[in-house]
């Protein structure tokens, strides 16, 4: 469950049924203990998505404990004062529920997807593990092996992931976003039961959480159930929120990774970019439009120019998400065609960007991109999950439900001038990391091959690590 792009920030748009003036028409409440609740009604199936999101993620980890937020997420599936280890998932399954959890730099979330008459049962379980987690040393030792295998699968086994991890570290000079969500191997190996419990006690409580229920439910009934199950959970004393500002980005960086598993090189570049909460947040909406018209499909500028016209790449694209507690990034990627040198491709990418900065983006493309983004919002209303995720992630980064509901209008207000201003603000080499994935250097002999495991550009903006 990756969230991050436009749709996560998105909300249904104006073209909805006349009877529904709102977007998701979310209703909200706050319990006395500080738990915020959001209800998104969607009656297409008799189901309920029950989610609890905590405003804590990898960026909040103490130095030396990288990976603890994600490790704790795994450990929440162990026992509580009243449930044996593993019993949680058995109960969910016996109720026909699908469940999982996810960790990002900004938040950690848990969900169960159930028939609507099982909602109360899920609330009871989730409220229980909010305050009553019990971990045995054995649980911790076994689960630590699991996350180490997870790291081997996700990172060590994928050269493109190894590169992205290094590149992120280079992009953020001061912020926790430079740390991998899953953690550095050498620190993960030493994460202890006490580390997990400390993190749990510090951040897991109703006043640091948002409850989101979406589906065929009634808002008043959800509120009543929330009071019953989550109401008795005591507040926690939250530590002051760490807010690390980035120093000025002054020097262009290059990160080059060679791996014998790589069969073809790939080019990517991340530009340091504002998110919704950044000092330069006025660019956040225009950047979504820019990412769309620059590199979201095979009609977009980068693909048309690099792949179709100049035939230098097999694919090319760009991406951006504004939904971050801290700074964000705007990224580009391209895979060179066999026989095209990395240097030539990079020059061509820069030439395209220079053209855009000099001449500005075409107005027609801006209008088309805006329309597509707003249409995405209508599709988002097709199921309960998309709206719930968009609202929850928005609340997690300190924004409001209204910000999500108004998203289509704000996208609609973006002008060509704003897109050009955003491009000029962000597309500066001194604020960027260029990341190259290359085959292992030939040692006298021939190069080992030509192509990569396909740089997974999504890897670069991967906002979450899933639990299971």
């Amino acid at each position: 469950m990756l969230i991050g792009g436009a749709i996560a920030a998105g909300a249904p748009a104006e073209a909805g049924k006349p009877s529904r003036e709102g977007l998701f028409n979310a209703e909200t409440f706050t319990l006395k203990n500080g738990l915020r609740g959001v209800v998104v009604v969607n009656r297409r199936a008799p189901v309920a998505l029950h989610m609890l999101w905590y405003k804590v993620g990898a960026m909040d980890e103490p130095a030396g404990k990288s990976g603890i937020a994600h490790f704790l997420e795994h450990l929440l599936f162990k026992g509580t004062k009243t449930l044996k280890s593993g019993e949680f998932s058995k109960i969910v399954a016996a109720n026909g529920g699908q469940e999982n959890a996810f960790t990002s730099w900004d938040y950690t979330g848990y969900y169960q997807f159930v028939a609507k008459d099982r909602l109360a049962r899920m609330m009871k379980l989730e409220a229980d593990r909010m305050a009553n987690l019990v971990l045995s040393e054995d649980d911790v030792v076994q689960e630590r092996r699991v996350i180490l295998e997870e790291r081997r699968s996700r990172i060590e086994g994928r050269p493109s992931s190894i590169l992205w991890e290094q590149a992120r570290r280079a992009l953020y000079l001061n912020h926790g976003y430079g740390r991998p969500i899953i953690g550095w191997m050498h620190e993960m190996e030493r994460l202890s039961r006490q580390d997990a419990l400390d993190f749990y006690k510090r951040y897991y409580g109703p006043n640091n959480a948002v409850l989101v229920v979406a589906g065929d439910v009634d808002a008043a009934e959800v509120h009543r159930l929330a009071k019953k199950y989550y109401g008795p959970v005591p507040r926690v004393e939250l530590p002051p929120r760490r807010k690390l500002a980035e120093p000025p980005q002054r020097a262009e960086r290059r990160v080059i990774y060679r791996d014998r598993r790589v069969r073809r090189p790939s080019f990517s570049r991340m530009y340091y970019a504002p998110g919704y909460n950044s000092p330069a947040a006025q660019h956040a909406y225009a950047l979504q439009v820019l990412a769309r018209l620059l590199g979201s499909s095979s009609t977009s500028l980068l693909y048309q120019n690099l792949v179709v016209r100049r035939k230098l790449a097999t694919t090319a694209g760009s991406g951006y998400s504004a939904t971050r507690r801290g700074p964000s990034s705007f990224y580009l990627h391209a895979l060179p065609k066999p026989g095209v040198s990395m240097d030539r491709l990079e020059k061509a990418v820069d030439a395209e960007l220079a053209k855009i900065l000099k001449n500005g983006v075409p107005e027609e493309e801006v209008e088309a991109a805006k329309q597509q983004l707003r249409d995405m919002a209508i599709f988002a209303r097709d199921n309960a999950r998309t709206g719930a995720n968009a609202i929850a992630s928005s609340l997690m980064i300190g924004r409001t439900v209204a910000d999500v509901e108004e998203w289509p209008a704000r996208i609609g207000a973006v002008t060509v001038d704003r897109v050009n201003a955003a491009a000029r603000h962000v597309l500066q080499r001194r604020k960027s990391v260029t990341a190259l994935l290359l085959p292992e250097q030939p040692t006298g002999g021939k190069p080992t091959g030509g192509k990569p495991a396909g740089v997974n550009p999504a890897g670069g903006k991967k906002a979450e690590v899933q639990k299971r």
């Binding site: 749709i7 249904p12 073209a15 909805g16 049924k17 297409r44 199936a45 189901v47 998932s89 058995k90 399954a93 016996a94 026909g96 699908q98 159930v114 076994q142 689960e143 630590r144 092996r145 699991v146 180490l148 295998e149 081997r152 060590e156 086994g157 014998r260 598993r261 069969r263 990412a291 590199g295 979201s296 499909s297 095979s298 009609t299 179709v308 097999t314 694919t315 694209g317 991406g319 990224y331 895979l335 066999p338 329309q371 597509q372 249409d375 995405m376 209508i378 599709f379 209303r381 097709d382 199921n383 091959g449 192509k451 990569p452 396909g454 997974n456 550009p457 999504a458 903006k461 299971r468």
Partner: protein, 443 residues
Amino acid sequence: MTVLPRIAGPAAALAVAALALFAASAASATVEVREVVSKSGIAAWLVEDHSNPVLSVSFGFRAGGSRDPAGKEGLAELTSVLLDEGAGGMNALTFQKKLERLSIRLEFEVGRDQFRGTLRTLSRNRDTAFETIGLALTQPRFDADAVERMRGSLLSSFLGKTRQPRYLARRAFWSSAYPGHPYGRPVSGTEKSLGAIVRADLQRFVADNFARDNLFIGVVGDVTPAQLSALLDKAFGGLPPKQNPRPVPAAAPKLQGGIVVERFDAPQSVAVFGQPGLPRRHPDYYAAYILNHIMGGGGFTSRLYREIREKRGLAYSVYSYLWPLRRSALMLGGVATQNARVAESVKIVRAEWAHMAREGPTAEELAAAKKYLTGSYPLRFSSSSRIADMLVGVQFEGLGRGYFAKRNGYIEKVTLADVRRVARSLLKPDRLTFFIVGKPAGL
């Protein structure tokens, strides 16, 4: 969402198969499925839903990679990425821009037995949307420029995959299980086979397979039966009446047990394992389905999950599933463990297989599995595109429109004796064959 979704890898191909599998066991009293037949005789299943002004369409042909001629592997796949690269009077850019400007998403996906198309559109653009399906299916241009571009894209994807342990393990599995049979050949092609495909092959693939007697359609959303009837003719009325299929013979998988290791320099070994399975229409299919759920299909509660991940921390992911192909059947699984301990994972999978074959599940396990499988059933009906896919899956398998209402009953009816009998007859610990890519210690 920022990657150009031009290439369907093995995961995507798998998804198609899994769809059929799930559709097979899906059911819901929550949807009303109607059959709509157009003037020209095109039939589709429809679930009306006017709550949101959108429409999802899924359609498919029985024509996947298994119908690629020998030496032209990847033909179905290459066709699938070229159908939106220009059709009728429009070149690739014009065609794609037209779709994008109207927020119409038209995608194609290929599996071994299926060629699937999906369409998503706002109601207000549905006329154009259905017209473009028609153009893509009946007048694809296969312009030289587009063919070379997409061939390059698939080639690059192929070369990338040849250094991915999971792909290598799966490839080894399929080619060993089905030597000399279309199922043994790579759906996404090879460097050589992709290079051998010419324009006439693409045209022939379309002419042979995209036909009305080979077509299955599911529609969900904001459209009435009368409106749909006219739309169906726009999209599919131009197809020829009859297909000219390339025969795919029935085949039993040649899996004789043992462990095949392919050395690969990575810290973790990826293992794919499998044995013969059961055809979708076999009377014991539901018992086997439940059996697999208990063995390795059931998320966080299966035996493999418990023994390998929860108790020993040997893997992040371990699973098994039934894969009923059209002309064969498999039971498959996978696990990835660090090189030093992967032998232990293999040993445990084997032991669990043997244990289950001998004793079958417990009554408690069966009860829990039934509760999950029936209780989670409505969850599958929570988005238009998913329902549309199921409508097609059920038609592919010939299960009938009433299937959705009956499916939970099929699960409920299975007894402990049934599952134990099927465990004994189906599970073959000595034929369970492992394909491991990595540097596994002691193997």
